[in-house]
């Protein structure tokens, strides 16, 4: 699938590169996100209770569960947007949320909303031409985003994630509204990101082509 979509060969280099240590001829990657016994309130309700997870560089974690089981809440918590009631989020063993701006700088966020401004053009959202090619939007670079379809907006939001160059992708239902070709392109983007040492945590109801991904049922 990747071979038939040469455009997907593109991925932005991760700026804050994972530290590689040569050890016994093997590459041991040290970037690691851990969540320990996470509990989160939404209003009065305890949505998440004692959830633990770990993602290493190059790894992927798929969150599954029925509507309202807290997939989005967990993603927002890992991003540091929703506060923890109990538990700890660690990045390479150190508390990640102690310094929120530097934790935020590790994250490429794709929420359930696309964060697309109708009056700005596609290129003004994502200046990186390579990322636009990777989601097949390069022909629309000069077009104001209000003329894009729902699926194209989703692709634009995905291009922004791909162009961010950040190591941790947090994706909330990334394939909503995407056609089969775009889903394949997205899978290729994810593979490239993981090959470069990036991590992906995504919630989804659909089957995603993320080889070797761990599944966390909520």
């Amino acid at each position: 699938m990747v071979a038939c979509l040469p455009a997907c060969r593109y991925i932005a280099p991760i700026r804050r590169r994972a530290l590689y240590v040569r050890w016994c001829g093997k590459r041991v990657v040290t970037d690691l996100l851990t969540g320990k016994e996470l509990s989160v309130f939404r209003g009065e309700r305890l949505v998440l209770r004692g959830v633990s997870l770990a993602v290493t560089a190059g790894g992927a974690l798929v969150l599954r569960g029925d509507n309202g089981t807290g997939k989005s809440t967990l993603l927002r918590t890992l991003a540091g947007l929703t506060p923890l009631a109990a538990g700890q989020i660690l990045w390479n063993g150190a508390p990640a949320l102690a310094d929120f701006p530097s934790h935020a700088a590790r994250i490429a966020w794709l929420g359930h909303l696309d964060a697309v401004k109708p009056s700005l053009s596609v290129a003004e959202h994502v200046a990186d031409q390579g990322a636009l090619v990777a989601v097949g939007l390069e022909r629309f670079a000069a077009l104001p985003a209000r003329f894009l379809s729902a699926g194209q907006r989703r692709r634009l939001a995905l291009a922004r994630v791909a162009a961010s160059g950040r190591p941790l992708w947090l994706l909330d239902e990334p394939t909503t509204g995407l056609d089969a070709t775009s889903v394949a392109r997205f899978a290729a983007l994810c593979a490239q990101h993981r090959a470069a040492g990036g991590m992906i945590i995504t919630s989804t109801h659909m089957a995603l082509d993320l080889p070797g991904a761990e599944v966390l049922a909520l």
């Binding site: 927002r76 991003a79 540091g80 947007l81 929703t82 506060p83 929120f100 701006p101 530097s102 935020a104 700088a105 994250i107 966020w109 929420g111 359930h112 909303l113 696309d114 964060a115 697309v116 401004k117 009056s119 700005l120 003004e124």
Partner: protein
Amino acid sequence: MKRLIARELRLALRQGADTAAALVFFIICGTMFAFGVGPDPALLAALAPGVVWVAALLAALLPLEKLFGADFEDGTLDLLLLSGLPAYLVALAKACAHWLTTGLPLLLMAAPLAVMLRLPSHALPLLLAGLVPGTLIFSLIGTLAAALTLGARRAGVLMALITLPLMIPALIFGANAVTAPHPLGAFAFLGAILCLAVPLAPLAAGAALRVAVE
């Protein structure tokens, strides 16, 4: 942060009607007073500083609802807070953008409006000099109110109810600077209010933004 301000300015330029609406409202609001109190030059001149100030404050309220509201609704606010900037710098950038797109144009339009209201020419520089910190203070406090009311029902009304009372001190000193025999004291107070608002308002607004996106 510069990129964020530049983006806000570009958005304001694309949606020029929103920006122009505040200006037109400012002029109409000022003109209504002239129609209401009659054409007596002495009376108009006495009212002019207060009228220009109040009209400017009311006009600057108009774009506040969209300041964070639009970003909150389309998910951009999450991205702004995850951009790696601290929340208070996001708020400060928004306040700068609000001043550049609303405060500064209002300042430019205040001179013709004041002249129309028969403000004596020697008082005009004083009025404008007072409006510079006045509009800056308004942008900062307005940003705070916009962040606080984010996600609330009837946010627009709440915003006015929070912002306008907080602007009373600035209004008193600003309008007083034009008519007082020694305007320096009033300017010192305006400066002091601005010095308080510059660090405190973005801090509080940033905290309010973090609460709003929970």
